[in-house]
């Protein structure tokens, strides 16, 4: 059932070989084929627009009021592409190698190579769409370097690269909508996948304005619904980000892979109170000039500026002298947590560390720092009321990007034929840690350049089969199941709000399946999650009715989060090694570095749903590395 379908041939030729052999659909026949795309972020909008351009009929769904709101819009830093414009030795292979190493050798070689190979075309395409990337004075594209990499390959549009790339994809989508090739279903949420004779053939969606349940049939279904980092409640993600689309597909037979690999971003603003709804990300670029430290003395209550130099611990510089404050995200985040847990945390809740610009201001002058980061300093002041030119910023790690997701083969198809997963919704490409500026890239490449070959390859086989029909009993049953669940939420009549449960599951995961994990904590978490599940079933209170009702929307997402959290803990428990974002306390060196175990764990863990209250079943996709040697990932 789990076949990765990696094409034959040398690494560099695999994708060309695949494309040259992929099955085609006659242009006249394309209009007979329908595809559903869930999500309108970079992966979803780009896929929907590209397939519509080819002539397929697309239905595009998003829960926001407009496709332009998808959370890809919030990505700041940039998008990687191996263009070698700076003549500094970049190449497809080098980008491939950096990404494989960055992912701690837990990603699929062929996928990562293809990602690097397609990266240059993405910049070309985005420029053709009107994305205003940064330029040199001579008119050529500018770029910069990012964490974990020694060449300049990150293209950017100020600090709003995600927004600009998304607008390009959104505009392409709207263009196809006007041409009648895309039907847009905004304020719609997918609540069930419909599987007929083992193949994905449609979805049940809820119209969030009216509460009506709708049946939509198609010849293939694409899930591009993003990541599930919001399972931690406090995260850098948008409030609506959720796991429902992929989770419900999982319960219909699609495997989930690498579920516990969650990136904690090192430079977000710390939590400041109990009623807080999210954590705001500060661009990682701040670490180029900011020095990170905590007081040497635990529970030091003095103001930062009153602590003399010799009583400060610049722990990243101390532990990682060659990378220092620019150590990769997983390493920096974990080091921060270690200091906070040891009692050196600062700020009102003792949950932060200092990011200090005073040395940079002394050396370069305030004007230079202002020119580089003034928008970030202004944003910091807007949110915290603190002037970071005068005192250090308070930052802390927070849940950010999910490397895990639906397991997909080389064609981005899940274990359910006809069900594809793109972008952050799939597990592919990043391994156990994602390098900065690779998320926008993967989402775009999946949608613009890969799915437009692999989905038609699948559709070619469906052309002469009977078209799915929404009167099929599978639609009937799926709709009934959704209705049952919604009724249950509305009639539980308990005492606790949906948010109460979300915060509870988030805190539990943060403590027991967060930046560091141990067998003991994970086993405790599994018991506590089951208790929480029971409490959710019996004590939820949803006010309002079955029409427009944001509380009812939340309830469904939280039900899914609670089940997903359980799988995350199983996944983290089973993987007895430390790799990338996954740090098992039992597997570390004497000085606290991760110990990977390639002999026993060089595989992708793909989990199969076995029904409520049953343990999931593990399937292993072995990872083979032909072009790189597995090495210890050191940033010392």
């Amino acid at each position: 059932m789990m076949e990765s379908k990696i094409p034959e041939g040398p690494l560099a030729d695999k994708w060309s070989l695949y494309k040259s052999k992929a099955k085609l659909v006659n242009p006249a026949n394309r209009k007979k084929l329908n595809v559903i795309v869930v999500g309108t972020g970079l992966a979803g909008a780009s896929c929907a627009a590209s397939l519509a351009e080819q002539g397929y009929n697309i239905k595009s769904f998003c829960f926001q009021d407009s496709p332009r709101r998808a959370h890809s819009v919030a990505a700041q830093g940039g998008v990687n592409a191996a263009k070698n414009y700076k003549n500094d030795g970049d190449s497809t292979f080098r980008m491939f190698y950096d990404t494989i190493k960055g992912g701690d050798f837990r990603s699929r070689e062929a996928n990562v190579y293809r990602l690097a190979e397609c990266s240059a075309h993405l910049i070309d395409h985005a420029v053709a769409q009107g994305v205003p990337f940064a330029r040199e004075y001579a008119g050529y594209l500018n770029n910069r370097s990012f964490g974990g990499v020694q060449v300049s390959r990150t293209f950017y549009a100020r600090g709003q690269t995600g927004q600009q790339l998304l607008l390009g994809a959104y505009q392409a989508l709207e263009r196809q909508a006007a041409l009648g090739k895309v039907a847009l279903y905004t304020r719609h949420e997918m609540l069930e996948l419909v599987v007929i004779e083992g193949k994905a053939k449609g979805i049940i969606a809820r119209n969030l304005e009216t509460g009506q349940l709708e049946r939509h049939a198609a010849d293939a279904v694409v899930l591009a619904s993003g990541g599930y980092g919001k399972v931690y409640y406090l995260s850098t993600l948008a409030m609506g980000c959720n796991s429902s689309a992929i989770w419900r597909a999982h319960k219909k037979g699609a495997y989930m892979a690498g579920v516990s690999w969650i990136q904690f971003h090192p430079t977000s603003l710390p939590q400041h109170g109990e009623n807080q709804s999210k954590l705001t990300l500060m661009s990682e670029s701040l670490r180029n000039d900011g020095r990170i430290w905590v007081p040497k003395k635990a529970a030091d209550d003095r103001n930062a500026n009153a602590i003399p130099e010799e009583e400060r611990d610049y722990y990243l510089e101390r532990r990682y002298p060659s990378f220092g404050n620019l150590a990769p995200r997983d390493i920096s985040s974990r080091a921060a947590k270690e200091r906070i847990d040891a009692g050196h945390g600062v700020g009102p809740m003792k949950n932060a560390i200092y990011l200090d610009f005073s040395d940079a201001i002394k050396a370069q002058g305030k004007d230079k720092i202002e020119a580089k980061y003034s928008n970030l300093f202004a944003m910091y002041e807007k949110i915290t009321g603190i002037n970071a030119y005068k005192e250090p910023m308070l930052i802390s790690p927070s849940a950010h990007f999910t490397m895990g997701g639906l397991w997909v083969d080389y064609e981005l198809m899940t274990t359910i034929p006809g069900l594809f997963a793109l972008g952050e919704a799939n597990f592919a490409d990043h391994g156990a840690n994602r390098l900065g500026a690779n998320s926008l890239l993967q989402a775009c490449v999946d949608g613009y350049f890969i799915a437009p070959y692999t989905i038609p390859n699948y559709l070619a086989g469906e052309l002469n089969l009977p078209r799915p029909d929404i009167s099929h009993p599978a639609f009937e049953e799926a709709e009934k199941e959704v209705r049952r669940q919604l009724d249950r939420f509305l009639h539980t009549n308990g005492t606790l709000s949906a948010d109460y449960f979300h915060k509870k599951i988030g805190r539990l995961l943060y403590e027991k399946c967060g930046l560091s994990r141990s067998r003991k904590k994970l086993e405790e978490a599994l018991i506590e999650i089951r208790e929480l599940k029971t409490s959710f079933e019996n004590d939820l209170r949803i006010t309002g009715d079955n029409t427009l009702n944001s509380e009812l929307e939340k309830a469904g997402r939280i039900a899914d989060y609670i089940e997903l959290a359980e799988l995350m803990c199983y996944d983290a428990l089973q993987r007895e090694e430390s790799c990338g974002a996954h740090f098992r306390e039992e597997y570390q060196t004497a000085d606290g570095e991760a110990v990977r175990n390639d002999n026993e764990f060089c595989y992708v863990s793909a989990w199969e749903w076995k029904g409520l209250n049953n343990e999931p079943e593990l399937h292993k996709e072995p990872l083979t590395f032909e072009s790189v040697e597995l090495a210890v990932r050191s940033y010392k």
Binding site: S66, V127, P132, F449, T543
Partner: protein, 248 residues
């Protein structure tokens, strides 16, 4: 702090709405405005009441989904700030705050503070794009774009489509939103070829959606969270007049 809230409640687009009074205590100055509404909703749930519906998503000031009138101003009292980035330290203990949806004929109220902004998408669909299909674009550096052009295009492209410009305008005009897109694309060599067609069709659609005309009072620029310049409206008018004049 303790606050007195007057919030617009409206069941659906065809029902009559009204301002309703609420009191809320225990609001910290560090909370965002939307977190204050979360807190109020939590207490409504405890009382078994329907929550106040409002739109929001990223809570980072970039998705454009949030936005309400706060004491008569779109996104509240701060300059260049979305509602989600407004914090309660902008208010003081004992304040009364009026909270209403963005109002415009083209933005019907769905429920309470939630509105329907599909009209914006419809305008984009008529021409707010460059007609580039996927996969065959020329090498990106083959058409140089000056630094200044790219920066100016970015300034206009930064629009988040929240609708504050429409809500702040006495005519409910969408000129700033449309002008921003026309400016962004017309500045770039890739977007110039379709500039005339784009201006004609987007302006036409803007009228058809029921937005009013621009009478140059510039409230839109003042309330725009992204600081989009009214010069983009002038640019829109220029592109539109050029298109009319040279139309075949």
């Amino acid at each position: 702090m303790k606050l007195y809230l007057k919030i617009w409640r409206q069941f659906n687009s065809s029902s009559k709405g009204e301002m309703t009074d609420y009191e809320i205590d225990g609001v910290s100055e560090h909370m965002s405005f939307l977190e204050m509404l979360d807190l109020l909703n939590e207490s409504l749930i405890q009382q078994g009441e329907r929550v106040i519906e409002f739109d929001h998503d990223c809570r980072e000031g970039i998705c454009g989904q949030c936005g309400v009138m706060i004491n008569g101003r779109a996104h509240g009292p701060l300059k260049n700030t979305t509602t989600c980035q407004l914090h309660m330290r902008s208010f003081k203990d004992g304040d009364t705050i009026y909270i209403e949806p963005f109002r415009a004929k083209a933005f019907p109220v769905l429920r309470d503070l939630k509105i329907d902004r599909k009209a914006f998408d419809s305008i984009i669909a008529t021409g707010g794009f460059i007609g580039a299909s996927t996969g065959q674009a020329p090498e990106a550096n083959s058409i140089p774009i000056t630094y200044e052009t790219a920066e100016a295009a970015f300034d206009a492209a930064a629009c988040i489509g929240c609708g504050a410009c429409v809500a702040s305008c006495k005519n409910a005009s969408a000129a700033l939103f449309v002008g921003a897109k026309i400016t962004h694309l017309a500045l770039l060599p890739q977007g110039k070829l379709e500039a005339s067609k784009r201006a004609l069709s987007m302006v036409k659609q803007m009228d058809e959606e029921g937005f009013g005309a621009c009478s140059d009072t510039r409230a839109c620029e003042i309330e725009c969270p992204q600081g989009i310049s009214v010069l983009s409206i002038a640019k829109m008018n220029l592109e539109y007049m050029k298109a009319l004049t040279f139309r075949k």
